[in-house]
Amino acid sequence: MNHFFQKQRYLIDFTLASLKRRPGKNLSLLLVYTMIVFLLASVMLFTHALRTEAGIILQDSPEIILQKMQAGRHALIPAAYLEKIGHIRGVVSKHGRLWGYFYDPAVKSNYTLMVPSERKLKNNEIVIGATIAKTRGLGTGDILAFRSADGRPFSFRVKDILSTESELVSADLILLNESTYRNFFNIQEGYYTDLALSVRNPNELRKIAEKLVVKLPDTRPILREEILRTYDAIFNWRQGIVFVLLSGAVLAFVIFAWDKASGLSAEERKEIGVLKAIGWETSDVLRMKFWEGSIISLSAFLLGYLAAYTHVFYASAALFEPILKGWAVLYPDFHPLPFVDGLQVATLFFFTVFPYTVATIIPIWRAAITDPDTVMR
């Protein structure tokens, strides 16, 4: 066994000396390879972490949201629908929600205005999200002035700012009381944006949703599981988008690696002949090439993955911010929590190391089994 390890060490010695002969070429190959692993791993780590976080946070979103549809659009829902729902077994409570959007031309951003069911606010008092505070430079006690859709000026006083730690869910929120909301948006009493229902047993959601549609055919129920599925699918989609972008890069790399591995130069062919002539077996030559492929791909994987981990969890995926932000003015300052899926990492490892190692060995096969006497010529 010791003999076997010693022999592998010698082969590694030779492989490294061989790689050192063309440092520029091999280092750039390693660099490109590492960068691709870095990108793939960053996307993988980021989306998984965000998906996991969303899955945890949104577990507490309302069980059922009931929207009214009119002429195919989401319309305000009459308060009378609360009575029409009547008593459905399993529904613990039901109430109307008020929320809407306001476009602030001053900073070209959209705010989400909400009436919180549990906070008590005075008229024209608001609580704002931390990102709004940062973007507009607001502190507690400051005034925020808007013009409503019908041109009336409104002045709101900032009572409180939501925690920066919850920016991921509250970046663009403005909380205000019901009467201010209705006044600002000109929404009369007796109408809500939608209804929120609390259900005791989550397994009964579908059944209850069916009953609701029967009772109120012009409504559309949205279940909590759909909310969670939305965020699971979305980040997959993003992953897909980024992977589509990356596939071009990966394809280029595959071509590069294959070209390197498959085209044996006359020099390399001769070298293999020399090695065989001085006593190396075919298997020794192949093992040496295996080490060459493994050393480069393993290095690329480890360096790329570690860089990706640092990028996503210590630099908050700074490189992805422009993509995710798009044209948004309000982008939450958040730091993904390190949730790592071992299976994904293992898959990445497999796809990084295996194909390249194989690509390095296979083309050598033919040269490795030829008689070395060509060397004499």
Binding site: S61, P116, E165, L168, F313, P338
Partner: protein, 94 residues
Amino acid sequence: MRKSSIFFLYSGVLFLLLALSALDAGIRGDAQAHRLSLMSQQVSELELTDLSLFTEARYTRHLSQADLHSAFQDHPIAFEHFPSGSLVTPPQTQ
């Protein structure tokens, strides 16, 4: 020092860092539990349904509330005004 020795050392360091990253994920995950519970609390209190991640357009802001089949609703699949619109889909019901 033999080249293979240098290589083993270098690989060893990298594998160690890899192991440390796994450890780090575990430790930091636990330490951040407070932040997660704060957000969960806010979601519950304010009855939130979406992350405020895509604030650039109204139809991307509340993704889970958007409707797949509505016509004339500025809809991600209908046409993309905003970058986020080309990246996200409305909720999948099944």
